[in-house]
Assembly symmetry: C2
Homo-oligomer: 326 residues x 2
Amino acid sequence: MAVYTRLGAEEMAAIIAAFDVGTLISAKGIAEGVSNSNWLIETQDAQGALHRFILTVYETRTDTADLPFFLDLLDHLAARDCPVPRTIHDRNGASHRFHEGKALALIEFLPGISVSEPTRAQARAVGAALAQVHLAAADFPAERRNSMGPDAWRQLLGDCGSEGLESIHPGLAAIVDRELAALSSGWPSDLPSGVIHADLFPDNVLMLGDEVTGLIDFYFACTDITAYDVAVTHAAWCFSADGAGFLPDLSVALMEGYESVRPLSQMERDALPLLAQGAAMRFLATRAYDWLNTPNDALVTPKDPMAFVRRLEFYADPANAGVFSS
Amino acid sequence: MAVYTRLGAEEMAAIIAAFDVGTLISAKGIAEGVSNSNWLIETQDAQGALHRFILTVYETRTDTADLPFFLDLLDHLAARDCPVPRTIHDRNGASHRFHEGKALALIEFLPGISVSEPTRAQARAVGAALAQVHLAAADFPAERRNSMGPDAWRQLLGDCGSEGLESIHPGLAAIVDRELAALSSGWPSDLPSGVIHADLFPDNVLMLGDEVTGLIDFYFACTDITAYDVAVTHAAWCFSADGAGFLPDLSVALMEGYESVRPLSQMERDALPLLAQGAAMRFLATRAYDWLNTPNDALVTPKDPMAFVRRLEFYADPANAGVFSS
């Protein structure tokens, strides 16, 4: 949520001149994205028309070897009418460039704002948009391993240690041990997989009214179980912010929206309670790690891991196994 | 350089609906302004045309009693063709509103970017734009005391204390004492005064090529000696960033540009070396204070006060008294 790289006006103009997008007329650093620097750019072409873009400078947390996957995926999905921003290629056709050792990309600007209290109609639209991405990505040729899969949760939670977890909340270490064991023994290996967004929180969805105008921030996108993405999105949209309150109306709407475009198989539906426990564990793991490892003077306030402990317990309760039936 | 206030999409839409500017279609928190929160807002009107604005939420450092002065001044100057953003008034005609106890204003968006290495042509244009503001403000009816005038420097530097100043740089306390005494005895009281910007650093000027498209951030504007504003702008534009290197070409260009619109009287010209020492002392005072009083974990890195000690010594050297002759 900050701009980490400082770019002078002259540097910025030179960066933009590498793209065939007209002359730079405005550049505002924006407080978006957790780990990259972003600017809202405006240019004017020879006919006087104005164009807007997002310029992203990738900081250390994004592996530049993954950029072709992320950026080509945007082009692939945009070409198939998914509401995702196109990558603007430079004059040589490259999807990204380097400036002083850092990779950067110019991305289409999309209108829309991120809702903080979604309505049912909005949850339905997000479900449908996610399913549209899953279908459109079926013929995307590249693959990327999920760097935030079960092995990563285990590693991160191991690094936190029992003492660390207990310092976050008494009893958390035991909950984590028990749930990790359950996830290990039951994690499915026979479900349809493909490209998934893997981080579709409301912050990463732009909307105008009930319409999804943009799915953004594909920097966790990877090849994994398709229904796991449904579970992540469910965990991200169907609870009050502190994770305590399940919002059944949003859950029904999200699932209905998704299945209106890509019906789930019975196997996928049966797996969702466990996949959702995995999704909750994934965000619990990164939040717990960041909670224990963010210096006090950091620019970013770590998010409360307990919001996902509550979701994990919700999904682990057999009484709630029916919430995925739309 | 941060967004301090969090506004949900629904709150933001409600805020924008109070203005007759169309429907909110985008809102991005921008990393601009040191002490207020700012968003770049896009709206669409009933005819489908897009409009952009800056929404500013005033945080504790801006006294809301001063807002009518700042915001009416923008309207006054814009109506006289100065390159400043207009204030957008709400449906009731008010220049600012309150949201959860904080004042906010919607300001016209202007294109342009802030240069970091100005050219002579750019310095000339800035000089001319400043003079244009001074002339256009002549019939502005309101007044505001300069809250960063000589009394404030003395107060801030007194709060720093000799030990504090010495901790910044050995010998600084003696320099400050000597220069404050010189400024006290010689500070002019008989020069033309009027509304001044008082903080016209390159960050507060938007440019497209050699043209000034926007003078922004009038939140130190006040009624004071007109030529003092020339001195502030000179100190802000005519030195390399560390304050060590005087840039004579920019100095000549800035003064020529200013005098092409508003020629200085001989009395004003004679006073400029001392006024410039005052300008250097003003930024030295706030920087030294912030240097000593910014917590280590603050979001903002304090700027080096020494950059203005060097400017102060430059202006105090009689050998440099001629730099203001254009």
